[in-house]
Amino acid sequence: MEILKPAMAGTLESSDAQVTVEPGTDGIQLTLSSSVMNQYGRQIKATVLETLERLGVNNAQVTVVDKGALDCTLKARVECAVFRSCGQSAANIPWGGAVR
């Protein structure tokens, strides 16, 4: 999927993460901050990158502000931000396909 316009998903509440995606031209540029950076920074980064790859996002600026989200929440927020940026978040989501 191509990131067409800036989009955001998630909140700054505990156990959540706020993910912003913006159009980019030079691969994935990830900016990550997390309340549990020392313990889980690598794991969070891996989950975000995997999710983007599964969605076929190759170029984007991605900002993640993590507040201790579980992997399942991170995935949900990244996917929602990407689908929103393409204007496709409201219907016909490929559940179990690219979203899994």
């Binding site: 998630g10 399942c72 949900a76 978040s89 989501i93 559940w95 979203v99």
Partner: protein
């Protein structure tokens, strides 16, 4: 991925706790409270511009979190919104045990949802008939059509009244003696029993009024409800306590079932237990008491 077992249409549902599907902090550990069912909400708890985000969260929660024996029901948006079809797709794809139809007013509403569920089961390769349905009656029309709604589908396991919306339509407010919804509750119970499905009461929203809550739960039990919708974990314990059978009821049920086995083997249809006449009409009630007792950890025998 957590594969959930095939949902049971008739199981113990004393407590059904609402949870906002959009809030990761709530849904990640909802099973620890010990309610019989949780109700992940895509409807009123989720703001209009977060419906999409709530579905992504819901999908991954259903696929990732092990809810154990807790039943997972999802409340979808009303049929008058642009959201309900995608809500159904995500529920079925994620493997929710059941769907609660908001603002249900007719058998046709149930059939409309059923058709979409069936299409989604086919789309996602889910066993046909797996996803159960329940209806929330929120309007006078829903209450008047209660029986046709209850009997509209083999997937229907229960029906619930939604007090907030219903009282608004009726121009009333919660009363200590329940007179505001007495007829509606009664009509819904009749319809549910006639159709052979379960019946659940509405939420009690004033968390500071414990006495009022307890009075309502006692009335629910006396009227014959199967359970109650809840908004806070602190409400669970009292409902489980009230809906648990008493020791006397358990002993009586055991006696009845034992006597029935012996007498029917001997060719006797009607007999007495402790001076009371018993025949086959008492058996389902006694079995229900023992099943409930087992769920409450009060019975370990082998009669049910």
């Amino acid at each position: 991925m957590i594969p959930r077992p095939r949902p049971e249409r008739f199981r113990l549902r004393r407590t059904m706790m609402f949870m906002n599907a959009q809030k990761p902090g709530l849904i990640k550990d909802a099973y620890i409270y010990g309610c019989d069912s949780i109700m992940l909400d895509l409807e009123d708890a989720v703001a209009e511009n977060q419906k999409d985000a709530a579905r992504f969260s819901l999908y991954h929660a259903l696929k990732t979190i092990d809810y154990g024996d807790t039943e997972v029901i999802v409340r979808i948006n009303g049929l008058d919104t642009p959201h309900w079809q995608e809500d159904i797709r995500v529920c079925v794809a994620g493997g929710a045990d059941g769907i609660r139809i908001a603002k249900c007013e007719s058998a046709q509403d149930v059939k409309t949802v059923e058709a979409a569920v069936e299409a989604a089961e086919e789309e996602f390769g889910v066993e046909k008939g797996r996803t159960l349905l329940m209806a929330a009656l929120e309007s006078p029309k829903g209450i008047l059509n209660a029986y046709e709604i209850c009997a509209a589908s083999d997937r229907m396991f229960g029906v619930a009244i939604s007090g907030g919306d219903f009282r608004k339509c009726m121009q009333t407010t919660p009363q200590p003696d329940g007179v505001d919804m007495l007829f509606a509750r009664g009509q819904m119970l009749l319809a549910a029993r006639a159709a052979g499905i379960q019946c659940f009461d509405t939420v009690f929203t004033n968390l500071d009024d414990q006495a009022g809550f307890e009075a309502e739960v006692l009335q629910n039990k006396a009227m014959g409800f199967d359970g109650k919708s809840l908004i806070n974990p602190k409400q669970i314990r009292f409902v489980h306590q009230v809906f648990a059978p008493t020791e006397k009821e358990i002993i009586q049920a055991e006696k009845i079932l034992r006597a029935y086995k012996e007498q029917s083997a001997a060719g006797v249809g009607v007999f007495t237990v402790d001076g009371k006449m018993i025949d086959i009409a008492f058996i389902p009630g006694a079995e229900r008491t023992l099943r409930l007792a087992r769920a409450c950890g009060m019975y370990e025998g082998d009669l049910v």
